[in-house]
């Protein structure tokens, strides 16, 4: 039928694995914002949730790295991480190969996406699903943008990819919810873990909420790496969400939570 929900959220593994180390005064409002996002998604009665991740070498590696990939599997397992380490129980999520195939076919009109009938979810998808689909009810279409192994897709292509997702979602009879997960600034899995450039994040959020395409696409990767860390490359997922939704954004929660290694973010974008 159409895109029925479009939003963003953080996916850092610390959100679950280091939950006890976080200040509850910061952590609990963040969890509440994710619960609110879950309710908003469920209220749209989606037939499938497309979740755009920036995965971390769980499936895609430098032997054959797609800029964009979409899942067409019957089912998906995850997390690939030790569930006891991530503190997210192992699940098998339902896929929908037929829907995936139709979405991919439409996206291919403008973006050369790879497809995958096998996919193991890492924390990039498993952490959001832990909060957004705790009972494992939804049909999932996983999507990936390579934000890890350069050369990376240019930001303007991430925008085009978002437009392709929107066109594809609008071309199928199913109701499609879209959640894009990622940064904003962070230096994950390094000794710098916990460093967050809040000023940079807030400037990016301003551009994202205004859905100011030119301003969002004006960052160079060198600037992003300098100011927002290697994790900042994940702004690609936010840009994809902005392009797919098309309207103004609303960041419902943002707070730097250093032990989670990221400025924790929950937002939605108007479907225009």
């Amino acid at each position: 039928m159409s895109l029925v929900y479009c939003g963003v959220c953080s996916h850092a593994p610390g959100i679950t694995s280091r939950a006890e180390m976080a200040d509850p005064a910061l952590r609990d409002p963040f969890y509440a914002a994710l619960e609110n996002q879950r309710q908003e998604i469920m209220a749209t009665k989606p037939d499938a949730l497309m979740i755009v991740a920036a995965e971390h070498f769980a499936n895609f590696f430098m032997n054959n790295m797609p800029a964009y990939a979409v899942g067409m599997g019957e089912s998906y397992t995850g997390p690939i991480e030790d569930p006891d380490w991530l503190k997210v129980p192992l699940r098998t999520a339902k896929g929908n190969p037929d829907l995936g195939r139709r979405l991919v076919a439409e996206m291919l009109e403008t973006v050369d996406v790879a497809y995958a009938e096998e996919w193991q979810f890492d924390h990039g998808i498993s952490v959001p699903l832990h909060f957004l689909d705790p009972n494992n009810e939804l049909t999932i279409i996983p999507v990936n943008i390579n934000c890890q192994g350069p050369p990376l897709t240019p930001l303007h292509r991430a925008w085009t990819f978002g437009e392709a997702i929107r066109r594809a979602a609008d071309s199928v009879p199913e109701r499609i919810a879209l959640v894009c997960t990622g940064g904003i600034s962070h230096w994950p899995a390094t000794p710098d873990s916990g460093k967050i450039n809040e000023a940079w994040d807030r400037e990016f959020i301003t551009r994202w909420e205004a859905n100011d395409r030119a301003a969002m696409l004006s960052y160079t990767d060198a600037e992003t790496y300098r100011d927002a860390g290697q994790g900042g490359f994940e702004i690609r997922t936010f840009i994809t969400a902005a392009a797919a939704g098309g309207g103004k954004g609303d960041v419902q929660f943002f707070a730097p939570i250093p032990i989670f290694a990221v400025g924790c973010t929950v937002g939605r974008i108007e479907i225009a």
Binding site: W85, G149, P191
Partner: protein, 108 residues
């Protein structure tokens, strides 16, 4: 230096249960199929997180290797810092350290 091969070992270990079992039983055997330098092989076999970090292994697969080795988060952060102190700055990749040796960014 063969950072690609070194990283690939960790990628395979991260996603393949059979590779994990082989690693627990006969770690050296798992490494036979990879073109590694002696330094890289030793770093893996000795769980030298600091050296693996300095060699340029992407933190996203290095943190999973650390977890597989039973290393807690605070120790993982500490071992990377000690690696930079011992072996010098990160030699390749995107995950260079930008904070100070004694900086506990998130309190760990």
């Amino acid at each position: 230096m063969s950072l690609y091969q070194l990283s690939k070992v960790l990628y395979v270990l991260n996603r393949d249960d059979a590779a994990k079992r082989l690693w627990q039983a006969e770690p050296a055997s798992l490494l036979e199929g990879y073109d590694l330098t002696d330094e890289e092989r030793t770093a893996l076999l000795e769980h030298d997180i600091g050296l693996l970090y300095v060699l340029g292994v992407n933190g996203q697969i290095l943190m999973h290797f650390a977890a597989l080795c039973g290393i807690a988060w605070a120790d993982y952060i500490r071992l990377m810092r000690e690696g930079v102190e011992k072996y010098g700055p990160v030699r390749a990749g995107l995950y260079a350290m930008t904070t100070q040796f004694n900086e506990r960014v998130a309190g760990v």
